[in-house]
């Protein structure tokens, strides 16, 4: 990569004029030395700044939006008091200004005039668009029942649409963040420790002595706090062990990189468990006091030696033993990181269970440098009438499938919208907020098949996306820089809340989510669930009951609270307790056994790529979030397209040149809509290729992102569904190269 990659067309310019207007202010508080070192965040309070928290990704870092002397949004700087970012946003958060300035934004409500999938819409007023939605929802509710309408959401506005859905009578409210991302680990840690991990994960990287990453490319995924704490860990000399078939960024910073053969992670985890148990390296006191099923595990694990795993994983047995010893030496200050996007091969809950078991053996749960015990602030509800009963809940609709799904599955909503998939149920309408399902869900063709059966598809978004092309009604929300939202409240080392308030008026004819939800509710006769005059009042009501106020939060942005649940780690003050049936950490899972699943994780060989095909691996990059930022002017300038990573030996076989355009075709004949450029690199194995997720947009209204790179979602036609909790495993697809244009019609 060289800097030419960053040199792109110019769109956004305020000129260099603002530099001349900055005056000199007296240095207060921290010394010049501290300030220059960057340890103290600058106080630039003479500028007009308003608090926000970021909406570019789920980490939701709090920050300040600064305006320049012309009153225009200038920059966003992290809130120094926020544990999600410690005053340092990631490139996406810093580039959040581009979301506001993007001239391709949705600008007005739209109602479909042409057939689905064709971008033919007419402008509508908000009144007309909301009337349309309300009438259609009323029709579906009367004809099929309100439970046949689902909400699929990713983002802060989802909370308000959730209220609307519950008031309407449906609880099919899914985030792809569950079954397409972190669901398996939530189920696995829930089964093992009696608690999921949620977000941000309570990994105590700050104090760890050994961090083990399995297919988790921390530093390429910018989970801000974790990246910051990992950098501190590098400074402290902590050991990092990275398991990845690709030489990831963090692999290059690791003491040990284990270049594992893809799809064999469980074999490695079992071998580590074997080495740790057979050498007596586990935390005996912890295991004896707090776990159940150790004897069964000890017996079960005997055959899975490092030599056994060698033949499967291609990893040298000595390396397996050395890394196991490294973990044991650091115990309990060791983290076998649970990862975040863990829907890979369909046995993901079992792999996550193996990770949970290893953490338990090393005594890291509830211990300094392992997993801390997070705390969440309770936010009082704004009073509203009780929600009506749901005549058929998402769990009833699933029936006996996926017994350990603890949240609704977006993929089950897609499946359940296709006639005949479920015996006596079919979804009839979707409200989709901030989630471009055509790229979010694997197997784009199936998503489209489902969409075409719907009586109503409402899309609420800031940008024209692939999904908006299929909508019946598009409701343009304003960006996070232009609106209030619900308070951010995620569990952390200390309870902490953050405020988002508008830095400026909404551009174009766009509206905040709270306004859309409330006005739609009023039209549906459900206004009593949104019984506040303004969102200021809604927020102030809550904040006043939490020892703060909207006025205070506007000044500070972030408020921390004292812990009330005891110490951050297990102690006399916070004694270990586990919300499992046995009250212990369940190494052997009776719950899984009773449901007909393996009570201890088992390695199952997965399908291998046929000759001439390569496993499709995908991942994240630091400057983009999913497909939602590909058109952001600031961020697309950093990375405008994804490249196909190919090992030089494979490239030589195919006579591929660096930068050459290729189309990818998968094992089922699915071909990418566009070509992508080849990146020939030693950083990838011979048996796989790698692309960054979120590119290959087919909507021409995205003037920067259209036709740039390829979409992995279109190539993931084989979905390996996890029978335990319904997660969609997406890494069982194989692709080959087409060097000639396949003349495939580009579908909008």
């Amino acid at each position: 990569m060289n800097r030419r990659n960053f040199i792109r067309i110019s769109t956004l310019s305020a000129g260099g004029a603002m530099l001349g207007t900055i005056g000199i202010s007296g240095a207060k508080g921290p010394s010049l030395l501290d300030r220059l070192s960057g340890n103290v965040h600058p106080d630039e309070s003479r500028y007009l700044r308003t608090p926000t928290y970021c909406e570019i990704c789920f980490w939701k870092c709090a920050g300040w939006v600064y305006k320049n002397d012309q009153g225009e949004i200038w920059k966003i700087i992290g809130n120094e008091n926020d544990p999600h970012c410690n005053g340092r946003l990631c490139p996406r958060g810093t580039g959040g200004v581009g979301m506001y300035y993007d001239q391709d934004r949705l600008k007005t409500p739209l109602i479909r005039t042409g057939p689905k999938g064709k971008q033919e819409f007419r402008r509508a007023s908000w009144d007309e668009a909301l009337d349309y939605v309300a009438k259609k929802l009323d029709f579906i509710g009367k004809k099929y029942g309100p439970e046949t309408v689902a909400l699929i959401t990713h983002g802060s506005g989802g909370k308000l649409f959730t209220t609307l859905m519950k008031a309407y009578g449906s609880d099919s409210i899914a985030g792809p963040s569950y079954a397409q991302c972190k669901g398996p680990r939530e189920a696995a840690f829930g089964l093992t420790f009696g608690a999921g991990l949620e977000s941000p994960e309570p990994t105590d990287i700050r104090d760890t002595r050994c961090l083990v990453l399995i297919g988790s490319h921390l530093g390429e995924n910018m989970h801000n706090t974790q990246v910051q704490e990992m950098a501190d860990a590098i400074d402290r000399g902590a050991t990092i062990i990275t398991v990845d078939p690709r030489f990831s960024t963090v692999a290059s910073k690791s003491k040990f990189w284990l270049p594992i053969k893809p799809a064999t992670d469980i074999a490695l985890l079992l071998a580590w468990t074997n080495v740790i148990i057979s050498n007596g390296w586990y935390d005996k006191d912890y295991v004896e006091k707090y776990t159940s099923g150790f004897d069964k595990l000890k017996e079960y694990i005997k055959p899975f030696t490092a030599e056994w795993a060698y033949g499967i994983t291609t990893l040298n047995p000595n390396m397996i033993r050395d890394t196991a010893r490294e973990m044991a030496n650091a115990s309990p200050a060791v983290i076998i990181h649970p990862g975040r996007h863990v829907t890979w091969y369909g046995d993901d809950t079992q792999r996550s269970r193996a990770i949970a078991i290893l953490n338990a053996l090393l005594g890291s749960w509830g211990r300094r440098g392992g997993f801390y015990l997070p705390e969440l602030k309770e936010i009082p509800e704004y009073p509203h009438p009780p929600f009506p009963p749901v005549s058929k809940s998402w769990r009833d609709i699933l029936g006996d499938q996926y017994p350990f799904a603890d949240l609704p599955l977006a993929n089950a909503i897609v499946d359940g919208s296709i006639p005949g998939h479920l015996k006596d149920f079919q979804y009839r309408g979707w409200i989709v907020n901030g989630s471009n399902l055509n790229m979010t869900m694997p197997d784009t063709r199936k998503t489209l098949e489902a969409i075409q059966q719907l009586d109503l598809l409402v899309v609420i978004d800031t940008m024209p996306m692939e999904i908006t092309g299929w909508a019946d009604v598009i409701l343009p929300e304003c960006t996070y820089l232009e609106r209030y939202d619900v308070l951010r409240n995620d569990h952390n080392r200390e309870p902490v809340i953050a405020l988002r308030m508008p830095a400026t008026e909404p551009k174009y004819d766009t509206k905040p989510d709270w306004w859309i939800a409330k006005e739609l509710a009023i039209k549906m006769g459900l206004g009593k669930y949104f019984d506040w005059k303004s969102f200021d009042e809604f927020l102030d009501y809550k904040l006043k009951r939490m020892g703060s106020s909207l006025e205070e939060m506007k000044k500070i942005g972030v408020k921390k609270y004292e812990r009330t649940s005891g110490d951050l780690y297990f102690s006399a003050d916070n004694p270990p307790s586990f919300d499992t049936p046995s009250g212990k950490i369940e190494l052997y899972s009776d719950q899984l056994e009773q449901a007909g699943f393996d009570p201890l994780p088992r390695y199952t060989p997965h399908e291998e790529p046929p000759e001439g095909y390569y496993r499709l691996n995908y991942g994240r990059t630091q400057s983009h979030t999913f497909s939602r930022t590909s058109n952001n002017p600031n961020l697309s300038a950093i990375m405008p397209e994804n490249l196909v990573w190919v090992n030089p030996k494979i490239a030589a076989n195919w006579q591929l040149k660096d930068g050459q355009e290729v189309w990818l075709k998968n094992q089922d004949g699915a071909i990418t809509s566009f070509p992508a450029k080849v990146r020939i690199t030693e950083r990838i194995r011979w048996d796989s290729v790698y692309i960054v997720h979120g590119f290959g947009h087919t909507n021409p209204l995205l003037t920067r992102a259209y036709g740039k790179g390829v979409s992995d979602s279109a190539l993931i036609t084989k979905v390996l569904v996890d029978p335990v909790m319904g997660g969609t495993g997406m890494r069982g697809n194989f692709v080959t190269f087409l060097t000639e244009n396949p003349d495939k019609e580009v579908k909008a």
């Binding site: 960053f6 769109t11 900055i22 030395l33 220059l36 950098a231 600031n634």
Partner: protein, 177 residues
């Protein structure tokens, strides 16, 4: 006073936050940049090494760009920072040609532009925008003439290299290795 920057290549993940923060802070037009990321790979799978660097103008103490500027637009300023006086710059590009680090570009408005170490912030006692934003804290900025400054201390403690030292430019960017 001699301002300098140290970049810890052990910690830099190449996220480009420095690039985006510089763009917004300094209103660098989209499509141009004053700082950038370099990734250097070595070896054959699986025996690999990679270095990632955040790069920018080296603020050389012996700057070819200052020497070859026909109008004295390029000059040494506060603490040795090399700056371009926009209204004096005729956009001839001699400095761009002379820079061994490819650190300069022609702004759409016609003058040559480059990293200023955020001198407007430094004069106020604030670190450059890239330093303030870096999530891995891999950038150190300060005065190398002051032996007590953080950057002096880190340079004493750590091994470092400078880029193209043979060019004789005496650069003030230090890459911790």
């Amino acid at each position: 006073m001699r301002f300098a920057m140290a970049i810890d290549t052990q910690k830099c993940v190449g996220c480009s936050d420095c690039v985006v923060a510089c763009q917004t802070e300094n209103a660098v037009p989209i499509g141009y940049c004053r700082d950038w990321i370099v990734e250097v790979n070595d070896g054959t799978y699986p025996q690999l090494e990679m270095e990632i660097r955040s790069e920018r103008c080296n603020q050389c103490s012996n700057s070819p760009c200052v020497r070859c500027c026909p109008t004295a637009a390029s000059h040494y300023d506060y603490g040795g920072i090399v700056l371009v006086t926009q209204h004096k710059c005729i956009g001839c590009g001699a400095c761009i040609a002379s820079c061994p680090y490819d650190a300069r570009y022609t702004h759409p408005k016609g003058y040559v532009d480059k990293c200023t170490f955020c001198v407007h912030r430094v004069k106020e006692g604030l670190p450059p925008a890239c330093v303030a934003v870096c999530p891995t804290k891999c950038l150190y900025f300060g005065d190398t003439d002051d032996p007590r400054s953080e950057i002096s201390l880190v340079l004493k403690k750590r091994k470092y290299k400078r880029l193209i030292p043979e060019a004789g430019t005496n650069p003030n960017l230090y890459f911790l290795i």
